[in-house]
Amino acid sequence: MAEKKQLRIATRNSGFIDPENIDSYIAAGGYLGLAKCLGEMTPEAVIDLMKASGIRGRGGAGFPTGVKWGFAAKYASDTKYVVCNADEGDPGAFMDRAILEGDPHSVLEAMAIGAYAIGGNKGTIYIRAEYPMAIDRLKIAIEQAEAKGVIGKNIMGSDFSFDLDIKYGAGAFVCGEETALINSMEGNRGEPYTKPPFPAEAGYWDKPTIVNNVETLASIPAIIVKGAEWFNGIGTETSKGTKVFALAGKINNVGLIEVPMGITLQEVIMEVGGGVRNGKKFKAVQTGGPSGGALTYKDLDVKIDYESLVACQSMMGSGGMIVMDEDDCMVAIAKFFVEFTMEETCGKCTPCRIGSKRIYEALDKITMGQGSLEDIEKLKLLSVAIKDTALCGLGQTMPNPVLSTMRVFEDEYTAHVVDKKCPAGVCSDLLEFIVVDEKCVGCTLCARVCPVDCIGGKVKEVHVIDQAACIKCGACLDKCKFDAIIKQ
């Protein structure tokens, strides 16, 4: 059933061809797109085709790729750059890695097409150094492509020349932001700069530059060969084609999927993903990576496209989907993601540098039961202000986990500060392990397993947990054979 819902464009070759053999790619129709561009199409025609296809950036922001190329084509320059953003950094997401490892030539081909379209001649793949296999296969691919003459001087006998190199990222999440990526490529500190000028006007070394994500690029040769209408026919009004997602978390079918835009969350989670693990109740799914937001059980009918996700305080992002069930505390989840962005913020602008810290501290306070209703209000206010004032995409989306969880689960927040309880039973500071007198048979197992010896009671007598000494490890709960210990 799952197979029917999926449609593979970006990942069309992954797993089917030998990624270390260019002939295998060519046999699958590879480099036909480039040949078509060089042989039959003007650069303007390529850009028009891209515009007509409606493809938007798969890195997360969803900017129309054809429009981006059109801007870069407009500026006259002796050198223009095509940059492939392979700095995949979302925790639990590996779409780009899979494509680069499984089908590196599709990215190379698309970069050459992009360079031809904008009038450029140089390309750079910015890839995180933690992807050694992807790097190896890219190197092999570049070598073979050069040998075959599909990259290099006068490609396929045309006037068009294109050189490629690889630059390694040092694992900074913010370097996925295009201006930060450019700074990093130039050897500067990986931090964004304010736009305009956009990279299409003055990017890498101040030359017109287009920065495209791996998945975007991998789709392009197929679009060129099959035409704009084919691609345009897939998806919704505003979001065309397919999207690759990395399903993770508490879901049965963990892994990569590629589905057409407009598919519902219900279909992705319940059908393609095979539903929540262990028959638990679906609670929410974090989309758009750590700075995305949570779609909840209330959003199962939402169609997955750029606009609908933003309307739910989330975003498309690069394609991470982390599924949560009834055992997950949404405050703790928000804290987890904010902690990630807090660690990864470059520290350039005030709202992101200090604001992320303060959001984290507020969430931490709430999960420890030290928060107040006023704190929740302040948290909301701060989150909105950060979205409004931060310099780059990272900062502007960083409060999303807070705002999106509050949208549906504000009662969980309230429970933490008013009742001092964690409804999901996750926040250890708010938990109590209690022995149910009626069920306890006095077997002493719990007392023996307790690492801090805080359970008292004699054989065949009801046991009692010393709440002051309890470290909430849950060992007693797991050990009890009589369900006589509950957490609340």
Binding site: A172, R189, E191, Y193, T194, P196, P197, A202, M342, E343, E344, T345, C346, G347, K348, C349, T350, P351, R353, I354, G355, S356, K357, R358, E361, K378, L381, L382, A385, K387, D388, T389, A390, L391, Q396
Partner: protein
């Protein structure tokens, strides 16, 4: 130059293409607070736009726009005076304050601190976001200024001026996230960097994070400022002399035609000679081989008599004068006039060649 139509707070105006929103607002007399903005950054795209205090509402834009770094587009409608803008700005200041000591009572910068002014403007007596604060040891290894990074708001002006204008590149940014702060190489003392002590970072620091090591204690409101020209090399940097009573206690650069807001170590920090105890304060005349104090009249008479007598006895060619490349045009003019008209000779020269 093409002009663009723009509306700020309901007032329509025209600005040159390439202007930032801040320029348009200034043109209309609408004040937008700034902190990291450096007016020596001539192109808007060089602004760090890091502090986010100058954010404004732009119609049809999702988020707020930094006025310093957002170029005006044709027909742009900008609002600077809305609830949304004020709330955002207040929170930004509040956040800055949450990682800043509240020691204005003893801070040397009090009275000329941009953060202090912003807190005053937004009515922030203390932060509402109490939390962890950065704690750095003070770095006093430079001979001319000290660095207290606990007062740094990471506005980047120091790094920008050092790397883009002075071009010494002695400092950059170190660490990430909440701990981001300006650093000398390897986060060591300034004395281990390539710093040439030009003090331009000190001049642009909006808070008390970079302060000159001053011999004098003074409050900013006790200071008078006098615009003048530097008295060292021939560049002719424009600067303000800061004076308290009859003492020069500091120097700040001005945007002169030659220096554009920059100074060097001598211009910025080399002013203590002015009120130095070794200054000559009375005329001296040589009596019995020793220089002893004299009145102006005594000194003048002695010189006048000697000049007249020498001229009478040996002729004008026995007199000569060496003028100075250090004094003013007016004084040089009078000096050569004295030598030519009163001594009667053209034997006047100065150290132009030395």
């Amino acid at each position: 130059m093409s002009m663009l139509n723009v509306t700020v707070d309901g007032q329509a105006t025209q600005v040159a293409a390439g202007s930032a929103i801040l320029d348009a607002a200034n043109q209309l007399g609408i004040e937008i607070p700034t902190l990291c903005y450096l007016d020596m950054e001539k192109k808007f795209n060089q602004q760090a736009a890091a502090c986010r205090i100058c954010v404004v509402e732009v119609e049809n834009r999702r988020n707020l726009a930094p006025a310093c770094a957002t170029p005006v587009m044709e027909g742009m409608i900008i609002k600077t005076d809305t609830e949304r803008v004020h709330t955002a700005r207040k929170i930004v200041v509040d956040l800055m304050l949450s990682d800043h000591p509240l020691d204005c009572l003893t801070c040397e910068q009090a009275g000329s601190c941009v953060l202090q002014d912003l807190c005053y403007q937004y009515g922030l007596e203390q932060t509402t976001f109490a939390g962890q604060r950065n704690d750095y040891p003070e770095d006093a290894t430079n001979k001319f200024y000290s660095r207290n990074l606990n007062k740094c708001v990471a506005c980047r002006r120091c790094v920008t001026v050092c790397s883009n204008f002075q071009n010494t590149k002695a400092i950059g940014f170190g660490d990430r996230g909440f701990n981001t702060h300006p650093v000398a190489p390897f986060d060591r003392g300034m004395d281990e960097s390539t710093c040439v002590s030009c003090g331009n970072c000190v001049s642009v620091c909006p808070t008390g994070a970079l302060l000159p090591k001053s011999k004098e204690k003074f409050r900013s409101w006790e200071i008078s400022k006098t615009e003048t020209t530097c008295s060292y090399c021939g560049v002719g940097c424009q600067m303000n002399l800061l004076t308290k009573g009859n003492k020069v206690v500091g120097v700040e650069p001005l945007n002169g035609a030659a220096n554009d807001g920059l100074l060097c170590v001598k211009g910025k920090f080399g002013f203590n000679f002015i009120n130095h105890p070794d200054r000559l304060t009375t005329p001296l005349v040589r009596k019995d081989g020793q220089l002893v104090e004299a009145t102006w009249d005594e000194a003048y008479s002695l010189i006048a008599d000697k000049v007249k007598a020498t001229k009478a006895e040996f002729g004008s060619e026995a007199l000569a004068g060496l003028s100075s490349a250090r004094v003013t045009n007016e004084e040089n003019y009078l000096f050569q006039k004295m030598v030519r008209a009163a001594f009667g000779t053209n034997s006047v020269d100065h150290c132009a060649r030395l």
